[in-house]
């Protein structure tokens, strides 16, 4: 097993990986950009190194610098987390050349599955069902226009190199094509350092179903069942759950087998996710392989009892899979809510700045993966994800109710978040009924504004504010920004004549 691992990431996932390492007795090395000096992952690691300025290309995407720091810190392996360099085969290749273990798939498999177009080709050869669309990346605009016509609008624009909705857009008419393609390419470039994009037939009202897979370095592979990620805003997942309300045991088994076949066809190792679209007729299409630990991995951990990050590390260190498919099972139901620094009342525009105070929910069946603390600054340079609230329950209903309660306790003061939006979404009768398709949000939440209950909560808020102001004026001194959490100001009673 490794003695020391470098985590080439930030935020909640870096924190989660560091925790796993500590429990395994592995030393950890954190890296950070200058705006992340006070980030939680930096505090928690045994060592931490500054990479550079905030822009990703100068820090978390800076391969040379990261390799240099790995050498300096004598780390034997690198865990890339998700996003940033996680699915960059050039980086994993570089690690291989430098004799550093990349905790993820081998660079050949990574290159194949990372190239959405290549993998589409390969998979058709072994009869994996795929969505009709371009077999190669688009060149000039004319090229895209022709292809779009051929496939027929609406079409889906996708980044060949990446996932997570980056660069992704539905294009409904020729007029939108130019700006969409250009913006998509820019987003793809800044997110993955590769601007290639392509078009696919847009499957209407699908469910997004993905299967978690683990494969060791000896050809053994198992799936850990599905995650349904149909609740998306602008192709960005915001709520995930498992099991899916749409799968019968039969369909689950069949899709699971297909997922394992995809992985083995690609000679893929370590943890991966095979994404499918499930259409209204129960027909499923292979979409792509996400060659990384995913944001939503905790819901799988909670229902299967398998620690995916520890499994990644063990597999990377050469261990065999400790279990076979038969012993794996799902218990209960888990739901993840992604908490973003966004303003749901203002078209979900990103919100950043200082978090004055945080109260994170806790209790039985509640897991909260976050990198937050009172006083932390949310930087504008990175993904707006702040935390992940994962709730487990004996069944879907109890998990859902638990999540609603937990969100009610999730206070993040100072910036805007979509906590109350998530709360209303989970409480929506259509969600409660399990009618979750990728059009859920346009269909059920487009007219969203705060519930009626709000009026009464408003009153409570006003009362609280007034009473606190009253008490403040009756004691000396006035509350200041980030009461009690501004590091540069010591707290104190103002003694007269002191």
């Amino acid at each position: 097993m490794f003695k020391k691992i470098l985590i080439a990431n930030r935020g909640e996932i870096a924190v989660r990986i560091i925790r796993a390492c500590k429990e395994m007795g592995i030393e950890t090395v954190a890296v950070y950009s200058d705006v992340d000096r006070k980030a939680l992952h930096v505090q928690m690691a045994d060592e931490a190194y500054l990479l550079g300025l905030a822009p990703p290309l100068e820090s978390y995407l800076n391969i040379d610098k990261i390799i240099e720091v790995t050498g300096k810190s004598k780390a034997e392996a690198i865990h890339p987390g998700y996003g940033f360099l996680a699915e960059n085969y050039l980086f994993s290749k570089r690690c291989e050349d430098e004799k550093i273990t990349f905790i993820g798939p081998n660079s050949k498999a990574l290159r194949l599955v990372g190239d959405k177009l290549e993998s589409r080709k390969t998979m058709t050869q072994v009869k994996i069902p795929i969505i009709p669309g371009m077999q190669m990346k688009g060149g000039n605009l004319k090229d895209f226009e022709e292809q779009a016509e051929k496939i027929g609008y609406p079409v889906m624009l996708k980044a060949s190199a990446g996932g997570g909705g980056k660069g992704m857009r539905i294009i409904r008419s020729k007029e939108d094509l130019k700006s969409s393609v250009e913006a998509g390419m820019r987003e793809a470039k800044s997110a993955f350092g590769d601007e290639s994009v392509y078009l696919e037939k847009c499957v209407e009202r699908p469910r997004h179903i993905e299967f978690q897979v683990l494969a060791d370095n000896y050809g053994n592979a198992v799936h850990l069942f599905e995650r349904e990620c149909s609740i998306q805003r602008r192709h960005q997942k915001i709520i995930e759950e498992t099991p899916s309300t749409a799968l019968t045991p039969g369909l689950r088994a069949e899709m699971g087998k297909t997922a394992v076949k995809v992985i083995q066809t690609a000679n893929y190792n370590n943890a991966g996710t095979v994404e499918f679209l499930l259409d209204e007729n129960g027909k499923y299409y292979f979409l792509e392989v996400n060659a990384r630990i995913q944001v939503e991995h905790p819901i799988t951990e909670m229902v299967t009892g398998v620690d995916l990050v520890k499994s990644q590390i063990k597999i990377a260190s050469g261990e065999k899979l400790p279990f076979s498919q038969e012993v794996l099972s799902q218990r209960g139901h888990a739901i993840e809510c992604r908490i973003y620094a966004e303003d749901p009342e203002n078209d979900f525009l990103p919100s950043f700045g200082k978090i004055l105070f945080v109260n994170e929910p806790s209790g039985p069946g509640i897991r909260n993966d976050s990198g937050l603390y009172s006083g932390i600054e949310v930087a504008m340079h990175y993904d707006p994800i702040l935390a992940k609230l994962i709730c487990w329950g004996e069944n879907r209903e109890s998990a859902r109710n638990r999540a609603v309660q937990a969100l009610s306790d999730y206070a993040i003061l100072g910036i805007k978040t979509q906590v109350n939006y998530l709360k209303d979404l989970l409480s929506h009768p259509e969600f409660a009924a399990g009618n979750t398709r990728t059009d859920f949000i346009p269909k059920n939440m487009s007219d969203w504004k705060e519930k009626m209950s709000r009026e009464e909560l408003k009153e409570t808020a006003l009362i609280a504010a007034a009473i606190q102001s009253m008490d403040e004026t009756s004691t000396k001194g006035k509350m200041i920004e980030a009461a009690g959490f501004d590091p540069w100001i010591s707290l104190g009673k103002w003694e007269i004549g002191a």
């Binding site: 206070a411 006003l462 009473i467 509350m479 920004e481």
Partner: protein, 168 residues
Amino acid sequence: MEFEFNLEDKLYKITIEKKGEVYFVDLGNSKKEVKVQTISPNCLSLSIDGHNQTAYLADAENKKFVFVQGEQFIIQEKESAKVRKKEDEAGLIDGKQLVFAPMPGRILKILVSEGEKVRKKQSLAIVEAMKMEHEIKSALDGIVKKVNFKENQMVDTEEPIMELEQEK
């Protein structure tokens, strides 16, 4: 004691009297009896007419952030409540349109230049924050009167990126 708070562009008058342990709160349309336990400077445990509620609070400049049951409210004292110059339905201020960034960020592209004619829905600029791009489109047919920023400059939501004038 009396307070005037601004919450979501509405003004609220609140009168409080404290008798012993109890705060008598008058919200105008309703009166409440409130008991309070101050748990920390950021947490009040309230009993409003016998019903418990926990409120989390934090102060910034002249704002109070208050969180109750999953919802955050931003409360300002009256005098400090800021108002932006009134716009008409078309979003015009005396025939001119000020183009603001939807959120603070970096200006990725300025797609028009001063004096240029623009059509409604034409892209004017692209602002980036948190790796997401936001295209700013024109709300009218008109002329670019003034561009206040260059590409790669940072912009907030208070300063207009450019000014358009409606075609006569």
